[in-house]
Amino acid sequence: MIRLRFLLRRLGQAVITLWAVTLLTFVMFKALPGSVAFGITGIRTTTEDIARINHQLGLDQPLWNQYGRYMGRMFQGDFGSSVTYGKPAMDVILTALPTTLFLAVYAVVLTAVVTVVLAVLAALRRDRLTDHVIRSVPVVGLGMPAFWVGTMLLFLLAYKLPIFPAGGLQPGFVGHVKTLFLPAATLGVLYTAVLVRSLRASLLEVLDSEYVLVARSKGLVGSRLILRHVLPNAILPTVTLLGLIFAGLLGGALIVEAVFALPGLGSLLISGFQRHDFAIVQGVVVLAAVAILLVNIVIDILYSVLDPRVGLS
């Protein structure tokens, strides 16, 4: 009962936040310099052309009417028609979504594996050389720009040692796994730097707790202790962060997609901006916001399920 009420309240908040996001993008785009008509017809545009296109798109109506129509369509999951692609923005977004989704899952899996391995190693060999080396990962990693890491991986693993393709996207699961490895690894390097420190800290906290002492006194050591008793209790904050990273990636990994020329939501967003394609931009931004809000709610629920000590309030 409490859980249901909590869920409803969180959903209510999410809807308000989402409405604010749509209002923000609407206002911003209306304030943008340049007109949509120019984006469609290019530089040789007559005044009549502009008037005609504006009329077709309903851009000659009062702002309030435009906003009303927009919200009405939004409720039906319709972001309007893309002026550059000549079809519903939703369709265009849905064709780009799988690439981004695949990349996001791939990156999160790589990040999770590397983070857990490094953090467990550091925690087990606390204050020894391994630990100190792993602890300096964030010091170096946090300042690394994504586009540079991507370019370096491209240079080393696609040009110098031609193990991976240099960009683009091959079809099929295996093709995806192969072509998206370098982009996912780029994101993995950066996010591991963010996560490894906090996971190590919470592992150490659990290792110091009394029930781990009890488990040890019963003779439990090594991987069994870590996997059964320590990791499940220490990993919650990391799961939260991974969830947020995943949600953030659903808006498109702008930079990585640019480096590796991937046809995902990030590339779509950039080209949408450049061509004043309001429907596309609004669609991607709203989709990203929905993803982040949903993931947040799911994380809260997961927390209360996984750790009964956390109440929903």
Binding site: D127, L142, G143, P145, T151, L207, D208, L213, L254, L269
Partner: protein
């Protein structure tokens, strides 16, 4: 708490008898904890600042001077790091780039810091509707991924340094506001703040003299790590072609320019990125040491 800690330490000594520190490890550990980390960090950042300030005297060439006859030249005595596709001296462009990236990074995060700290202070101190409005605003900002929002703002504000600073301030104030608000909510209930408020001191005075000083260390720690991310992001916008524009020697733009010539001269794309990474290490060392000093680990 104390007993649990002791039990933990003792247990580790029992269960891990091999946990004897070697000399190498001790050196490493001491280096991390000692003021040396802070000194090295400050040293790195000082060098960068000096390079930015004295760029015209340090740079061997004009960073914009083209020499197409000697384009993509490998490192030599005349051009220590070689030249780019338009024959411009890479070293000179890196040196002048320090001016652009450091200035933009500091200004952008500085404005975000001021905005966020003030808003967080007001919300945490007055609570009520101020807090409510701010919290909703923070929720909304957190729901929009940072890069799409940055790009949206840049297209709205037009390109240029002023727009970049403003766009970063609009997206960046949130973390400062959250940090400050949380801290202030704790501090405002402390006896000395309550006493100051019960005395005839005005709200402004109480906030400035009794509340704000308790927040500054953590805000500065956040700032040091934020600058790294901001410089990285400014460079990323330059790389995407929507930040600082082409002829200007900006590190991100330089990586983007060099990417096409990886096979001819790999240094063009590599060195500007390394320059950012080293600066990042410097700032991370500073913020880590400050955080450790403030008791936060």
């Amino acid at each position: 708490m104390g007993t649990v800690g002791t039990v933990g330490t003792v247990s580790r000594a029992i269960v891990e008898p091999g946990a004897v520190t070697t000399r190498r490890v001790r050196l490493f550990a001491r280096a991390r904890r000692s003021p040396w980390a802070l000194r090295i960090g400050l040293g790195i950042v000082t060098i960068y600042l000096a390079v930015a300030v004295f760029a015209p005297w340090l740079a061997p060439y004009d960073p914009l001077a083209q020499d197409v006859m000697h384009s993509l030249a490998p490192p030599s005595a005349e051009h220590l790091l070689g030249t780019d596709s338009l024959g411009r001296d890479l070293l000179s462009r890196l040196i002048y780039g320090a001016r652009i990236d450091l200035l933009l990074g500091a200004a952008a995060t500085g404005l975000a810091l001021i905005l966020g700290t003030v808003l967080g202070l007001l919300a945490g101190y007055f609570r009520g509707w101020v807090d409510l409005v701010l919290s909703r605003l923070v929720d909304m900002m957190m729901a929009i991924p940072a890069y799409p929002l940055l790009v949206l703002l840049l297209f709205l504000l037009g390109q240029g340094t002023g727009s970049i600073i403003l766009a970063f301030a609009v997206t960046g104030w949130v973390s400062y506001a959250r940090l400050t608000r949380g801290q202030v909510m704790v501090v405002r209930e402390q006896d000395y703040v309550v006493a100051a408020r019960l005395g005839a001191l005005g709200n402004l005075r109480v906030m400035a003299r009794h509340v704000l000083p308790n927040v500054t260390t953590q805000v500065i720690v956040l700032w040091a790590s934020d600058i790294v991310l901001a410089i990285s992001a400014i460079a990323a916008l330059g790389y995407l072609g929507i930040g600082i524009q082409a002829p200007t020697p900006e590190w991100g733009v330089m990586v983007a320019d060099g990417q096409g010539f990886l096979l001819t001269n790999w240094m063009l794309a590599t060195v500007p990125g390394l320059v950012i990474v080293v600066l990042g290490v410097g700032l991370a060392l500073i913020s880590d040491s400050l955080a450790a000093r403030g008791g936060r680990r």
